[in-house]
Amino acid sequence: MINNNVMLVEGNRLYLEQLSNIIRETETVTLVARFRDAKDALGQGMVFTPNIILLDADTPNIMNLLEEFHQAYPHADIICTGEKWSAESSSLYVNAGAKCFLVKPFSSEELLDAIFAFSKPATGGKDAKVMTFFSPKGKSGKTTLIANLAMAISRKTNASVGIIDADLQFGDMAFFFNLKPQSTIVEAARDTDFLSPVSLNSYFVPVAKNVSILCGTKEPSLIDKVSIHSLETIIDMARTMFQYVLIDVPAGFNPTSIAAAEMADTTYIVTMLNGGYEVQHIQRSLDIFSTWPDYRERVKIILTRVEPCTITAKQEMEEIIGYPVAGIIPNAYLDVATAADDGRMALDLKPNSPLSQRINYLAGKITKKKQDNDDDF
């Protein structure tokens, strides 16, 4: 077993004591050295052969220090610590060689998460793909779509996928995966000011290899507990935690759906065809999104319950809507309902069903490195 020999570099006297105690109390971790002055740590720490360095990021000149530590300790993981996480500074640290960022004071669990959980393949950061699934009205089939798509993406690429259920009043994601989560988006939002991606990770519930979910609120009245600011912070952090982030939002235009759409690389308008006025609803939504200069690249349409689910049907709908359709999903109501009622995914039920095929196709499009406009269906 590898020893976790920690060297603590902490300028604040009180934190130095507090963090030292936490490290000492943490099993499988040994505090081998501690310094208040970073220069001392650079000059003297070597003799203790630390393989993990907790470096106070609130020190002046942190960027230079990071580089110096990196050279002096090429085999150690450097974890930056600070009082508050921010997307910009933490990505600067990570780009300068830090492994991740931890908010002080941290708990033993968070420290262990930082040491272990993040030794998985380098996650997205700038490259992460954030997708928001918007629907004009409810009952669009998007929860089913998101859940299945997330699974398909992770199977195809082995990438890490995070789902955020921000459908704040009636999110069903936990139900689809048969989860009774301890922590949800409400707790994550409450704690955002004290969280970093490492610690936010523990609010996500793993549902499969590489797929985890931040579950939705348990009761409608909790909606007020998730501020737009904290939702934005959560999305920012998720970007550094996963390679793909899929966000479910409440129907229609509301502060939540708008914030999530603005932060996403791609917003999918998801609509179930019911023989009503769905096309008008899509067109009116597009009108709103068209205020983004680049909306044609950023906004895509997915239609669900399309019967027959053929390329002709897709082309017809493109004609009627007057906008490209990125994907169509067949009516698999009974498959989906049966699976959901048992807390299972429809995709696991019939891997070769038309539903799975269409979802796999979409997953392929999303994970493809270079985007093309081929109508390969």
Binding site: G138, D172, F176, S221, A251, G252, F253, G276, V336
Partner: protein, 270 residues
């Protein structure tokens, strides 16, 4: 004059899932009440993506936005000329359409909308309100001001039933009189393998009324723009809709020809 002042009944349709039939049923309730000779106003407070104008094929001149502007201007003018009339074979009622533009819908203030309702309830026997499926500020205010709230559910699949239960419990926390909230089940025998009795036991409450699934009639009614209770086809669903209205008005429903003479409307639009 005091004798002309009525304080109309407000019936709101609410649900915690979409596409459960709020719009279809509110349209039919308005139509049936109008057919029975009541003065009726139907309000589409699914502000962003309201379907009443679609299902009734209306091309309104004014919308709730104009009504709100008028109320805010405090001119004292009647709002009634700004309503849109739906009429079919001698039966007619007034409609408050949702805004034409999404950004208008986004920016309307719930308080002003409630003021519009308070103003109009003095002019109508019944105001029927269609909503969205969430506990928004507007919907909570509408629930408060309503005489009756029809909480509509369907036996769909378990997540929907979970949301129905949560919705029903949330409604209970608002402490309304027990007979203000009426649990109505729509599309009761649609394709599903969940039993009605299971839903009742999950909810811990019986349904006040049950409407059957009649996909073909519903779709046709939407396609033609003619409400089920007016289209002359006395399907089972139509009967059940009439029965629901009869229970709300505390009387048996009439199957006679609509009353055409001397309605309140003829006085206004003569």
């Amino acid at each position: 004059m005091a004798e002309e002042q009525i304080n109309g009944v407000i019936i709101t349709f609410f649900s915690t899932a979409s596409a459960v039939g709020k719009t279809l049923i509110s349209i039919n309730m308005a139509s049936e009440l109008a057919r029975e000779g009541y003065s009726v106003c139907l309000a589409d407070f699914d502000l962003q993506f309201g379907d009443i104008r679609n299902y009734l094929r209306l091309t309104p001149e004014y919308t709730i936005t104009d009504l709100c502007d008028s109320i805010k201007a405090d001119s004292g003018n009647s709002l009634m000329p700004m309503l849109t009339t739906y009429a079919y074979e001698g039966v007619s009622f007034q409609v408050i359409p949702n805004p034409t533009k999404l950004e208008e819908a986004y920016n309307l203030s719930p308080e002003t909308i409630i003021d519009v309702l308070k103003n109009l309830r003095m002019q109508y026997d019944y105001i029927i309100v269609d909503t969205t499926s969430m506990f928004s500020v507007l919907n909570l205010a509408l629930l408060d001001i309503s005489t009756i709230v029809t909480f509509l559910g369907i036996v769909d699949f378990i997540p929907t039933i979970k949301n129905m239960k949560i919705g029903n419990e949330t409604l209970h926390t608002l402490n309304y009189d027990s007979n203000k909230i009426r649990l109505v089940l729509n599309r009761s025998d649609s394709k599903t393998h969940i039993q009605l009795k299971d839903v009742v036991s999950i909810l811990g409450e019986d349904f006040y009324h049950i409407l059957h699934n009649d996909f073909i009639s519903a779709r046709e009614s939407i396609a033609t723009g003619i409400p089920l209770v007016l289209n002359g086809q006395e399907s089972e669903l139509t009967q059940e809709l009439r029965a629901l209205v009869a229970r709300y008005t505390n009387k048996g429903y009439k199957t006679m020809e609509p009353q055409k003479k001397n309605s309140w409307l003829s006085k206004i639009f003569s």
